[in-house]
């Protein structure tokens, strides 16, 4: 009994020895003024984060004041790892409502609305300059067309770096918005994708491409240096610079890009190629 009593006294005495509320308040006020200044230098920008079941499966999305930062397929790859990387550069705040419009834009894109994506992108999460450069070049590839890994590497200034470009696409932090699905293999096969080839095909079909069961793309090839477009089997392509080729889903898109139909294969005249 005596022990409990003295312990209680001791507790009370210990509490009395602490600083009063007024003193703590005063100290906090002083500290705030000074801390505010120091924090201003090192503050990480805030981003809103949310996860959604979208038309492309479960997506995690992060958006800051300078644009979209992250679009992540939650069923492909490590979500915790993505969050960790995000937190290195940003202060994420869970706010699903703030990023919900992004999901609606993606839905409209898949329904065939080609002007659906209006958001700006912020490539802060890209690790290297080369990868950022490749992704920026990629943004110049318009909807309804695709480039090859090789051509994108050449455009980035490293014609032999098609594999590095592949890695840059695989680590693209903002798929769909930075259109890494518009990069395909040189043999016109769809190739691989961070969210699985199925999603790549879905996106390319929504953008107007015809893709057969063997995952081969059909369209016309446009040469950016000669400004002619041809069927893929045209023999005039044998002499073309492969690094300058773009594939269009539709001849109309090629014409809109300022190109003329080839005189040899006449890509506008029906589906069958004239014998050449």
């Amino acid at each position: 009994m005596k022990v409990v009593n003295s312990m209680r006294q001791l507790d009370r005495a210990l509490t009395d020895t602490g600083p009063s509320d007024a003193i703590v308040d005063g100290l906090l006020r002083k500290a705030h003024a000074q801390l505010e200044r120091k924090f201003a230098i090192m503050r990480r920008p805030e981003v809103a984060v949310g996860a959604f079941a979208s038309a492309l499966g479960p997506l995690m999305i992060a958006e800051g004041s300078r644009g979209l930062v992250l679009v992540h397929y939650m069923d492909c790859g490590d979500t915790d790892r993505q969050l960790e990387k995000l937190r290195q550069k940003f202060d994420p705040i869970k706010d699903p409502r703030a990023v919900e419009p992004v999901v609606r834009e993606i839905k409209r894109l898949l329904e065939g609305n080609t002007g659906a994506l209006t958001r700006k992108v912020d490539l802060s999460l890209v690790d290297s300059d080369f990868r950022r450069d490749a992704l920026q070049r990629l943004c110049e590839v318009p909807l309804g067309s695709v480039v090859t890994y090789q051509a994108l590497a050449a455009a980035t200034g490293a014609p032999n770096a098609q594999r590095a470009v592949g890695t840059a696409m695989a680590t693209n932090p903002i798929p769909v918005y930075v259109p890494c699905h518009r990069v395909v293999r040189s043999d016109c096969m769809v190739g691989n994708y961070g969210g699985g080839p199925g999603r790549k095909i879905k996106l390319l079909r929504a953008e107007g491409f015809e893709i057969d069961r063997g995952q081969r793309l059909h369209g016309v090839l446009g040469d950016r240096s000669t400004k002619y477009y041809c069927r893929p089997e045209c023999r005039s392509l044998q002499r073309a610079n492969r690094n300058k080729l773009l594939m269009f889903a539709d001849p109309a898109l090629a014409r809109r890009a300022g190109m003329r139909p080839c005189d040899l294969c006449r890509p506008d005249s029906g589906r069958e190629s004239p014998a050449n």
Binding site: L14, G18, P19, L28, R87
Partner: protein, 168 residues
């Protein structure tokens, strides 16, 4: 929405500051016995916490984690002070007890007495005691903050209380 519960984020840093700043300030005032030092360490604690915040995995570990930063800083400060006082007063007197006894507004002798005993406790026991009695941390959290097991944290608090009792 189920998907949004599938990933976890610690609270935004500003919120963490709001929740814990009072407790941390009290802790530092008790641990340093000098208000300027406490103010200094308080700022250092939050700056360090902000820098390392991306490494913190979840909200559960936040409180002991903050106490751990504060404790480490106190330890560094005590070591530096000791070194400096050795240079200034080569006689070997650390002067630590004097600063504690100094407050002249002694309302109640017992308070000063207890303060002095608490100040003389070994560092680990003092931290554990302050966290337990004033921070409201449980032994698991104290263990996490001091980098020891939860039994060891319990033992430290017990030893500290024993000393206070016998000294009374």
């Amino acid at each position: 929405m189920g998907l949004n519960e599938s990933f976890r984020l610690p609270p935004p840093f500003a919120e963490a500051v709001q929740i814990h700043e009072r407790a941390i300030m009290r802790y530092l005032v008790r641990m340093t016995s000098d208000r300027d030092d406490a103010l200094d360490l308080f700022q250092e604690t939050w700056l360090r916490a902000y820098r390392a915040y991306p490494q913190l995995k979840s909200a559960d570990g936040l409180k002991p984690w903050l106490y751990r930063i504060a404790t480490n800083l106190c330890r560094n400060r005590a070591r530096d002070n000791l070194r400096r006082s050795r240079v200034l007063t080569p006689a070997g007197d650390t002067g630590d007890a004097d600063t504690v006894a100094a407050p002249a507004h002694a309302g109640w002798d017992g308070v000063i007495h207890i303060k002095r005993i608490v100040a003389k406790l070994p560092e680990k026991q003092r931290s554990a005691l302050v966290m337990r009695k004033f921070g409201g941390l449980d032994y698991g959290e104290i263990g996490a903050a001091l980098g020891c097991s939860n039994e060891s944290a319990r033992a430290s608090v017990f030893k500290a209380m024993k000393k206070l009792e016998t000294a009374k």
